[in-house]
């Protein structure tokens, strides 16, 4: 199996692609083969990792032009899969020489500045969490608060977000406008707003409706297709938008 990996030594832009022939065994993930490259062929290759089990959100990248977690992607299946994303520049086109029949193409996650090879600068993605103040004000008292299972169910899918930024990297709006807060932060704002325990829920909604928040979303829904955790941030954004009209 051949990997075609985007390289960028200084960061900023992809300067070239390197080809590596890797040994593939059943059960291996793209992350495993990237380690094979780093361990045995090219120690200068940089990529992020931690859990290798699709829970830490470190390893988001573009694999065959689809935003994916490297650790959860099986090389065998990626060849004939499609996420049916709406096109926008970084996922369109083909780098010169790429033969999709024979090679797996690996590139950094779009919409965030490249720092080196597959490592991108997540600052803007994390900053949105602070801009929207996505935390709870601690409750008082000696006892746990009450929350009925059906109340928890309403926010369950949003709790599953691992902050991998695949949604951010798949969003055409994030591509065009650096100031757009992005799907994950907005979905998290909804998670706090819709949590039956939140006393000051309106502030999350109000913040999410800032000009660089939900109003910028055009409901393209690439985020819903790209999200590896079924969070469906676009659904939350739609709900936030519906409150805008009120």
């Amino acid at each position: 199996m051949i990997l075609r990996i985007a390289r960028s030594r200084q960061g900023g832009k992809i300067t070239h692609y390197d080809l590596y022939k890797v040994q593939f065994e059943k059960g291996m993930s793209i992350l495993d083969v990237l380690f094979q490259v780093q361990d045995r062929m090219d120690p200068s290759l940089s990529f992020r990792y931690s859990c290798r089990g699709a829970v830490c959100g470190s390893c988001g990248m573009l694999i065959n032009k689809m935003p994916r977690l490297a650790c959860r992607t099986q090389p065998e299946t990626v060849m004939d899969e499609s996420m049916n994303l709406q096109d926008f520049p970084p996922i369109m086109g083909r780098p010169e020489g790429w033969d999709p029949e024979k090679e797996i193409l690996i590139e950094p996650l779009p919409n965030l500045p490249i720092l080196k090879d597959l490592v991108v600068d997540m600052t803007a993605f994390y900053a949105a969490l602070e801009e929207l103040r996505l935390w709870a004000e601690p409750a008082e008292g000696e006892k746990a608060r009450n929350q009925k299972p059906d109340q928890r169910d309403k926010i369950r899918r949003y709790l599953n977000c691992i902050m991998c930024a695949l949604c951010y990297g798949s969003c055409p709006i994030n591509h065009e406008s650096a100031e757009y807060l992005g799907p994950a932060a907005l979905a998290k704002a909804w998670r706090f707003y819709d949590d039956s325990r939140t006393p000051n829920a309106d502030r999350y909604l109000k913040d999410a409706l800032k000009p660089n928040g939900a109003p910028m979303c055009e409901l393209i829904m690439n985020c819903v297709r790209a999200c590896p955790k079924g969070v469906a941030p676009g659904g939350a954004i739609r709900k936030i938008k519906s409150h805008d009209k009120e």
Binding site: G27, Y49, Y126, W135, R145, K148, R152, N160
Partner: protein, 559 residues
Amino acid sequence: MVYEHDVLVVGAGLSGLRTAIELSDEYDVAVLTKVHPLRSHSVAAQGGINASLGEDDSWEAHAFDTVKGADYLADQDAVEVLTKNATSAVIENEHWGTAFSRKGDGSLAQRPFGGAMFPRTCYAADRTGHNLLHTTFEQALRKAVKIYSEWFVTSLVADKDGIFGLTAFSLATGQVDGFCSSAVVLATGGFGRVFGKSTNAIINTGDGCALALNSGVPLKDMEFVQFHPTTLFGSNILMTEGARGEGGHLKNSEGKRFMEDYAPDQMELAPRDIVARAIRTEIREGRGVENEYVHLDVRHLGETKIKERLPGIREICIHFAGLDPIEEPIPVQPGQHYSMGGIDCDKEGTTKLPGLFAVGETSCMSVHGANRLGGNSLLETLVFGHVVGKRVGEYLENQRRRSNKEVEEAVFDIRQNLQSLVMREEGELMSSVRMEMNAVMDEKAGVFRNEEDLQQALAEIRDLGQRFDRAALGQTDERFNYALIRALELKNMLDIAEVIVLGAIHRKESRGAHWREDYPERNDTDYLKHTLVTKEDDELKVSYSPVTLGQFEVKERSY
């Protein structure tokens, strides 16, 4: 460049963040972490966190289960702190926003976990660590805790009177810089990756233990390594004990629920070490599937329950093993899971070195003794994050920052060391040294141990240590040099592997997770004590310290 703070916390998992939050109101605290905080391994914890919330339950009952589970090697005073503060730690995190799973009436749900007499484990589906870590990180953001993300700590700087600070390497720039502080808290997590088959994240390389060891601080009870009975065959991703808590069955190749031969009362919910040895025995005696694994069968729980209670497990099976547990049994085998041992410290995290503290999985207080109960280590991170944070605060009250000169000199030395490592382009691959270390530890210091294997392992690990010194990194770049990080981690793991094996050789008994085939009995007369391994003049010295006993009398441990 030299950075200055009152206190530095190394590690941004649950224990590091909780400690930093405790200190942030009154002190200038900074957290250094080699990965962004949300990527810390705490995020992967699945099953839950223990607290005696139930009406018939009590902290004493929780303490008893913990001490018994620990095969009486836990310090009972530390266990008391853990279990007495459990309820408030869980409630605090609920107040911070964690969406725990609930009972029909809206109160916190609790599930049964191995080795516990009550259903005492609170959970957020099977993503408890994820929920706790995200919430705790949110609170750290709220408090604007200073975080140095993607900084790898390379050494502690201290003399016999105490800590000056540390040196760290920034991934983004490739530069080593110095950090000066009056106190350092190590919260660096476990060292599972010393073993090949491990449920731990790739970054769990025990750096904190190595930092302490190389500063003359003893490591305690390092031979006690927990092997989780049920890890997914292939990737060794954890299949939570919750799967058995919810009623999952373990079956051998004959389809028999073999736990009835090993722990007829508790069956699948016997403590982990017992279940792990049972599975290994089944496989060794030819009743494994493909000679490699047994089956964890949850099919009888039905689709609804599996989807509701074990969604994470199902997702892992689908993506990492290509099977749906609603339809097929899950292939599982034991794998390294938790490090009971760690940096020798007291129940407030204080180590022998003034100004150096330890907390979380990297510490050994010891609340887990010879075997940790599931759900107790998330608890440890939150309870002791709070306790150690408080203690460090008290320590800081009476401290004046010491000079910066020592840190500056240390930076200079570390730069030179790293430079020479990076320059070495010819030599054996680092990865082959790592893979051999993994194989030695899996095969000779794993679930079953004996003198001959352990002696061989010791010789081989020492040899690998020498090979490391000649191995080469190859051509790397300065920025985001992960190959260099992996090499530094390997060096740390080789140090730790030697300590684990040495402790195991000297402990000629079987207790908890440490199982010696040649000494199958527990021996309280000679070994009801903690192992301490200290590095002095480059030599490892083994000594012992007493176990703090208490209200629970030392008894035979049967289930």
